[in-house]
Amino acid sequence: MLLRNAEILFNDRVSSELYHMGLLCPEIAARIQPGQFLMVRVQEGFDPLLRRPFAVHRIHHNDPPTSFEMLYRVVGRGTRLLADMQAAASLNLLGPLGRGFQVPDHDGFVLMVAGGIGIAPLPHLAETLVSSGFRGPFVLWFGGKTATELVCVKHFKDLGFAVQLVTEDGSEGRQGLVTGHLEQWLSQQGELPKVMYSCGPYPMQRLVAEMAARLGIPSQLSMEALMGCGVGACLSCSLRCRPLEDGPDPHYLNVCQDGPVFAGEEIVWE
């Protein structure tokens, strides 16, 4: 865990509410594992007070890596302040934080599922799998409200992914929700995925985890929670999980430290 000022390399608008930010910080870049996140101080003052959590979207694969990217959606005060920042300004980062995705033991069919901004941490994972020599097959199921939310599809295709798109308004791909189409599609495939990685809103994550459990596929879900510290010190970011033997019930784990990536079967859905 490091506390560093990174230099903003670029901060580009990708679509109406989505921004892409490039950050230069060699020490953090060298340590980030797929699925880990950063606590970003969106301004120097104390209002808004708390840091904001963001996934690392991609690492730039120069050797050694020196820079990386975030993909973020403007939803409130903090992200609006981020969107107003200019290249060459500096941004204070705490990270890398948390337990990220685990790379599978063996090569084979890998399925990724993303809902909306849930796409953010997956390119780094995809690049890591490909650069570690995994050959797949790789499939991404990606759902959003409308076509403009479906960003970085070309990047996945370039990495060798088959990409299935779903929009709620039908403006691109199938119409509806990812979870409404995925299981039927899976039942038509010759083999089942070795692992499912998923990131998106809580209701989607729940359906993905339940489906994975029904089909006996291990799932790894990147979860969200409101965060105070990001390091396990404040116990704000609790997620209800399976109790330990003779441990207290309900059993809460910290998304920031025990996660943000959890195995589907760890979580007690509410």
């Binding site: 007070l49 105070g228 396990g232 116990l235 704000s236």
Partner: protein, 318 residues
Amino acid sequence: MTNDKPVNLAVELGPLRLENPVMVASGTFGYGQEYAELVPPERLGAMVVKGISLEPRSGNPPPRIWETCGGMLNAIGLQNVGLRAFLEEKLPWLKPLLVPVIVNLFGNTVEEYGKLAAALDGQEGVAGLEINISCPNVKAGGMTFGSDPEMVFQVVSAVRSRTNLPVITKLTPNVTDITVTARAAQDAGTDILSLINTVAGMAVDVQTRQPRLANVVGGLSGPAIRPIALRMVWQVVQVSRVPVIGLGGIVSVEDALEFLLVGAKAIQVGTANFVNPRVTLEIIDGLEDYLRQQGLVDINEIIGTLEIPEQSQGADCR
């Protein structure tokens, strides 16, 4: 007037001696390990660890926090590992540290406070106890101990009679007159007072019409509460025979100095750790710089040196 002589930051709070007056507040620094990569614990004046109870506690369902203007509400629900796991899993890491470790404790009944104090007495690695009295008294219909002077007296007496460790009583601001509960704690034999705990608060999501916290109400902390905290510390210092530790919304060396000037012998930093994990180190360095600028050599020369111009004294109604 600046000097380049070495400056002394050490302070004495009754039986507790600190190398510097900057502590971290309970519940905002875990057990020290969480931030150890960024803040060497040895540099702190003291470390107050997350509040513990006799048995482990699950805490409240999420959402547990909500950010407000210059502050945050929390309703963690006193989630903690419990006494046994603290002694077996947390204390061994804390023991060798060259920093006074203060254990914050709370109970559901007066008897539980006493039992905890007895269990922690004589534990190597524990430099003192801080009693969190801002918790519901299960036997008195859930009213908080800390808002009733009689209960404060009983809780502090129960701890005092079961330990030889320095005892700090942490006062809640959610009372009409904090000097009354301060006196009760003092009469029961507390060595030190610390204040303030969080200010009771609430927030609502107007879209869903639901409270922002699953617990409905929570405690406000951060810079938003600093003026309230400072006023209360100043009031308590006037009536107190024992040393006072000031906290509530401190985010900078200027804030820390405000509390020292009104008479706090030490300060604690809470919520600001989340925003800037190295803030305590910056405050310690800033205190040295301030002393040098003022041409002073000892932090004790500024504690309680608030100057009140004559014409502004006495007005009670405002």
